[in-house]
Each structure stands twice: as C-alpha cells, then as structure tokens.
Amino acid sequence: MKEQAMPNSALVASALLTNAVGLHARPSVKLTQLAKSFASHVELALHRDGPWVDAKSPVKIMRVKAPKGAMLYFRARGSDARAAIASLVALVDSRFDEDEHETGERAHG
C-alpha cells in the first residue's frame, strides 16, 4: 500500500454501514457513481490503515464485500476532497436511499 506516498492533505472520514444487505451490488453502484462525480482521487477501506481501493471502480468496490455493521473509511485527495468525503459519508448514513424493508427482505445483491 502507498499511504506514505499520499500527501498529508488527504482527508479521511468513516461511516458505519447499516443497510441490511451490506455493500452489495446496488449500493456499490451508487457509491461508485457518486465517487465518480468528484474530481478528487477517492478511496475506500474497511480499516483505517487500508488496504485502500479505488472508490470509483465498481468492480473493486463490489469485491470489498463489506457486510452490515462494517465501518467504511473514505480517503480523498484533490480540489473537491472535502465535498467528496461529505457526500459519500452522507450516502452511507442514508443507507444508500434504499427502501430498507423491501431490500432487506430480498435476497438480491
């Protein structure tokens, strides 16, 4: 990993994953789409010390397979890093705007 190579200006924040299905297919797509809307380099990890994966890569994010109850760490570096971090944390906090009852019952994802 390359934490040391990251400049000190990288921002890190975390959010608890509370939606029932965890970071499965549909939430992963939403997360990467949101990450892509920012110019900054944005990464995600399950631990503060990594390993970090590119939050703009749907394949990599889906492979994280973060379960419900996992802590998601976001790290961003760039001109809009602060906004990127805030938006991603808000997305997780809002349970990805999914209908929890419906998605929780279904075995999708």
Binding site: R26, Q33, K36, P58, V59
Partner: protein
C-alpha cells in the same frame, strides 16, 4: 461528451431483456442501452441484423460497448460491427466479460462519463481476479 452506449447480446431474449432491466434499475437512465436476444425466427440464437439495430439504438458518439454471452453471440456481434462500415466500426467494441455482470459494470463506468476504453476495461476486470 455523451456517455458510452451499452448493447447486450444473448442467445436468449429473456436473458437479454433481464440483463437490461438490471442495468436500468441499478445504474439508471444516463446510459444509452439496447438489447437483443434470439434468432430471426424467435428461437435461441443471435441475429446479425438485430445486433446492428441494437447498436443503432444505443449509438453514442462516445462509442458503444457490446456484452455477449456464448460463441455465436460474439462472432455475430463482430460481423455486425464489421457491417457498420468504416465510419462507425472503430467506435464499437466487444467486451470479454460475463454478459450480465459485465453489462452492469460497463454501464456503471459509462454513467460516470468514462471513455470507451475504460468502460471496456472495467467490464473485463471482472474476469481478471
């Protein structure tokens, strides 16, 4: 710059339609999307003319990524691309990826405004574990 278009080609019309449903529901409407499945007589198979028509429906100046299932779907898609002619041929690629997962991943990448080569690479990243 418009988003890259996605075309789903399956031997089965139901699989093609179902995969397209997944793309629409998971990724949204920001990506040009078309699908085709089955041969000209409605059985299992693929049809060159129908694939060309699907490429037309999903056409984008940013390019079109085609997701296919088994052998004939790939060769017929390549033939359809060949028949598009010089001007458009270069803007269409067949991705070496599983059709359903590849379509969702390619569309997700496309929805973020990524160029065709990145869309193709993301779909193909599925196979490169």
């Amino acid at each position: 710059m418009p988003n890259v278009g996605i075309v789903i080609v399956s031997h089965s019309a139901k699989i093609a339609e179902g995969a397209a449903d997944m793309v629409r529901q998971m990724v949204g409407d920001a990506v040009p999307l078309a699908y085709t499945g089955g041969n000209a007589s409605g059985g299992l198979g693929t049809d060159v003319a129908a694939i060309m028509a699907a490429i037309d429906r999903a056409w984008s100046s940013a390019g079109v990524a085609v997701l296919v299932d088994l052998g004939g779907a790939e060769t017929n898609s390549e033939m359809a691309i060949e028949l598009l002619g010089h001007g458009r041929r270069a803007g269409v690629v067949v991705c070496n990826a599983p059709v359903v997962e590849g379509a969702v991943m390619a569309a997700t990448e496309s929805s973020g405004g990524s160029p065709l080569d990145v869309v193709k690479r993301t779909a193909e990243e599925l196979s490169a574990q």
